[in-house]
Structures are given as C-alpha cells and as structure tokens.
C-alpha cells in the first residue's frame, strides 16, 4: 500500500533541500475526533489530495476468539456483545444461532419473533448512532443529539426487556430467557409511532441540504462489483446497487415471515449509503410493527440441556447485522467449551474498502468515508 517516497524522506529536515516536493504523511488517529474510536489511518497526501492510505488497527484488540476457547458456550455469550457494542443484540443473535445450529435445535416461534423485534430495534439504534456521528463528522452537530435522544427511548425498551442498555446479553442459546415485559407491545408500537416523524426530521435537516448533498454525492464511490470483490456487505453493498440482504437471501429467525423491502442505491456513493440506511430504518420500523402484531404465544426457550455439549463438528452461521454480514464459525470438539470460534466481523472487512474509496479524494472525504462505512472499532479489532 505504501510506495517509497519519491525523492527523500519527508522527515529528513536536516538536509536543507529546497523545493523538495515529497508527500505529506499525515497520521489520522488513533486519537482523532472522527476516526470513530481508535482507528489510525496513515494518509499520504499531496496537498489535500489523498494518494494512499494505510489503516493501522488493533488498538482495541482483546482477543475475543482466544477468550472463547476458554469459556463454555453459555459463558461466551456476553462477550460477543462487546464486539460491535452499538449493535450488541445482533451479535448475540448471530452467536446464539450458530450454537443452536451446532446443537441442531431451533428457538421456538415466540422467541424468534422476540429476537426479530429486538434485533430490528437494535438496527435502528445502530443506524442512529451512525447517522449522528456521520453527520457530526461532516460538521452538522445537531443530528447527533437528535438521534441519540431518540435512541435513548429504544435503549429504555432494551433496559426494560433484558436489564441492560448497551451490552444487552438479551438472548440465550436455545431462545430467549426474558419474556416480554408487561406493556412491551405498547412501548414498542409507541416507539415506532414516535420514531417515524423523527426520521422525517433527520431527513428535513439533511437530505435536501445542499451542503450535505455536496459533501456526500460522488464521495467514496464504489461499484457493486468492487464491493463483492472486497467482501463489503451490508448497506454499503446495497447502496452500490446489489440487492442482497441475508434476511431475504437466507432467512433466519423467521425473517421469511416478515414483509419488508431491501432498499438499494444506484451510485454507490456516500449519499446513496445515507439514503439506504435511512430507508432501512423505515423498513426496520415496519418489521418491528409486524413482529409486535404477530407475536405468537408459546414457550420462549427450546429444550436445551443445562450444560451445553454440542456434538463435534463445525458450522458457519451468519446474519445480517446493521453493518453487514456477521458470521460465526464455530468448531466444537464435543466438550463444553468451543474448540474455536471465529467471528467474521463486517466492520473489519468493510474497512478494507477504505483505501479504494478515498484514493484521489480529499482529506475531508476520508472523514466522510470512514463515517459512511459505519465501522465500530470494537468489532474491527475484536
């Protein structure tokens, strides 16, 4: 990624060379207001034009996969929340589905509907964090506060449902352990009613705003083919025109029973990704409404033994997390502890596309593209 500098090292100031036109190497991060955590991007600049980037990651590496090998299946469940901490419910869902697949059990329908409801609420909160921070990166301060205020209401529902707001640990292997609390359906429906006008408000602030449009249109363009080649998934892929969503393509957790659409973009630029995510929020609201209306009665936990000992074997199960395809590759050796758990983090793979997307653009676009990729460093570094 980094070619050697053309004439001399940019750090060599002692040589008194005049008119030395070497590139400017700018270290963006790990402490930088808009690298969303501890991402460090080494930018090679010609003026403000980006000639190349190199991502330095791993500042938040906690060895989640190693931890997994030393915990039982049930014990590892809370740890997955800590990867993509703004979408912890999705992480938990993916993990539970993977272990359930290995155990060859399926959660009861009521649990599946509860899971759908929670994951879609989580998709909303995740997208709201994205919108707020992305807008803040591009200089619009207020959406951050509006989205965080509206996200707060969803977090309150999380808190009432499973007792935690962020790292929820909402599901257990085999279903859900928490029954819907009294009045949850009203809470969720009133949240949907509350949120829909708020989404309009975000759009009123940004969608037609000429500055927003100029800052995002034709910025960080990536085509559908490039996305596929780079393994980029989620809203980024859909904004490039590839109509692919695991919830439709390989439905899990009763998603096939829900009626929703996959919003797609055309140009694959930052503006389209913005529109796609906004549309996804509306679709999520739609799914949540259906989940509340169609919540079946019945048990919420499949019959699983207290001590989980999946038969030896390996499975790969993936779900559509808010950031893209979140996969778990679980290898069991028949003991109580997983032999190996591999997490396929969407943020990590999507971040690879950064270099492709910002090359030849300006420093300000790097910020826009990092924001639009919607990475969470907890997940990138694990």
């Amino acid at each position: 990624m980094t070619e050697p500098s053309s004439t001399s090292s940019p750090l060599d100031l002692g040589g008194r060379t005049f008119l030395d036109s070497s590139e400017l190497v700018l270290n963006m991060g790990p402490q930088h207001p808009s690298t969303h955590g501890v991402l460090r991007v080494i930018l090679k600049l010609d003026g403000e034009k980006v000639l190349g980037t190199e991502c330095v990651i791993g500042y938040l590496h906690r060895g989640v996969e190693k931890i997994a090998e030393n915990r039982t299946y049930a014990m590892f469940n809370p740890y997955v929340d800590r990867m993509d901490y703004v979408a912890s419910v999705s992480n938990g869902l993916g993990y539970c589905l993977a272990v359930e697949k290995l155990l060859n059990v399926e959660a009861p329908p009521r649990a599946q509907y509860l899971r759908v409801m929670m994951t879609e609420l989580n998709r909303l909160t995740s997208h709201m964090v994205w919108l707020g921070t992305h807008a803040l990166d591009l200089g619009a301060m207020s959406p951050l506060f509006y989205t965080f205020r509206d996200r707060e209401e969803a977090l309150k529902i999380f808190e009432k449902y499973c007792g935690a707001r962020l790292t929820t640990h909402a599901f257990r292997i085999g279903g859900c352990i928490y029954e819907a609390y009294e009045g949850m359906d009203q809470d969720v429906v009133s949240y949907c009613n509350f949120l829909e006008p708020k989404i309009d408000e975000y759009e009123q602030l940004l969608t037609t705003n000429r500055i927003w449009v100029e800052r995002t249109r034709n910025v960080g363009v990536i085509s559908g083919a490039e996305c596929i080649a780079l393994g980029v998934t989620g809203p980024v892929l859909r904004a490039s025109g590839v109509k692919w969503d695991l919830r439709k393509a390989q439905p899990y957790s009763s998603y096939d029973k829900f009626d929703f659409e996959i919003p797609t973009g055309r140009n694959g630029d930052t503006y389209d990704r913005y529109l796609v995510r906004i549309a996804e929020m509306r679709q999520s609201v739609r799914i949540i409404r259906q989940a509340v209306a169609g919540l079946p009665e019945g048990p919420i936990m499949a019959k699983v033994p207290k001590v989980l000992k999946p038969p030896a074997g390996e499975v790969y199960v993936s779900i559509e997390a808010p950031k893209g395809e979140l996969g778990y590759f679980v290898v069991s050796d028949g003991s109580t502890q997983p032999y190996r758990i591999r997490v396929r983090p969407p943020s990590f793979v999507n971040l690879q596309a950064l270099d492709k997307m910002v090359r030849g653009q300006l420093v300000a676009d790097v910020v826009a593209v990092i924001g639009t990729l919607d990475i969470v460093l907890g997940e990138v570094d694990r």
Binding site: R71, A74, M75, F76, N77, P78, Y79, R82, S142, F145, Y146, R149, E152, K156, E159, K160, Y161, C162, G163, A164, T167, H169, I177, Y178, Y181, E201, Q204, L205, L206, T208, N209, R210, I211
Partner: protein, 152 residues
Amino acid sequence: MSLAPLLRKMFFVDLIKGMAVTFHYQDPKEIYTEQYPLERPEIAGRYRGLPRLNVNPETQETLCIACDLCALACPERLIVIRSERNAASKRKELTTWTVDASRCMFCGLCEEACPTDCLELSQDFEFATYRRDFVFGRERLERGPEPTVYRK
C-alpha cells in the same frame, strides 16, 4: 434544471427547512437532559446492576446455600464463595461471598444459575468510590444499594 428546483435553490429553501427544525427545538420543553444527581433516572425492574444477596426477611438469615453454582457460571470467575460444614446441622453454611465489581460485566449468568432466590442483580448502578476496593463482600451486598441522596 427546471424552474422549481432552481427557485428553491435560489431562495435557500433547503437550508431554511433545516433551520426550521433547529429553531423549533429551542422550546425549553424539548430539552431532554436529565440533571442526574438531582433527577434520578428511572431504572427498569430487570436492570442488571450490582449483585445483591437476599436474606430471609423474617429470620434475617441468608438464603444462600453455598452451592457454588454462581461462581461456576461466572464467565469472569470473579465470585468467590467460602463455606464451612456446620457440625451440628450437617449443612454447608456460607462464610464469605465476594464479587469483584471492577471486573463484573453484569451479564446476569450468576443470577440465572442461582437455585434459590438469594442472588439477584439489583438496580444499584452507583458504586463509584474514591478507593480501589471493588471486591464487595457479603455485608455490602446484603445491605443493598445506598446511593447518595441529593435533595431537590
């Protein structure tokens, strides 16, 4: 470009629409901030805070039977239980029960493992201290939360 968008652009309609949003939010009724110590946050009943050891309200005896299940369920292994066999009743009796709150991630697995109603994650979320003793013992956990009360 047709006329309408051009006019909209000329008269800054897009910008004014956004400014209308920010303007109407100036209404003090819209303020969302909670002034935390003065205004207490509403904590849900299922909130997973600091563990609490319940006691029998009549006899004030602990409900813990020192079965060690919570310690085994804990992913971080931060619950330490010591018990001794009571020679008279032949029953295991709890001596110490500690939790290292600095490492606890409030996952609730211990609560689920508890076969009695003893261990429960309480609504206590305020355990910041000026000292580094996060290993809470039985006394503190049985007593439950004692948040600083700020009068309004």
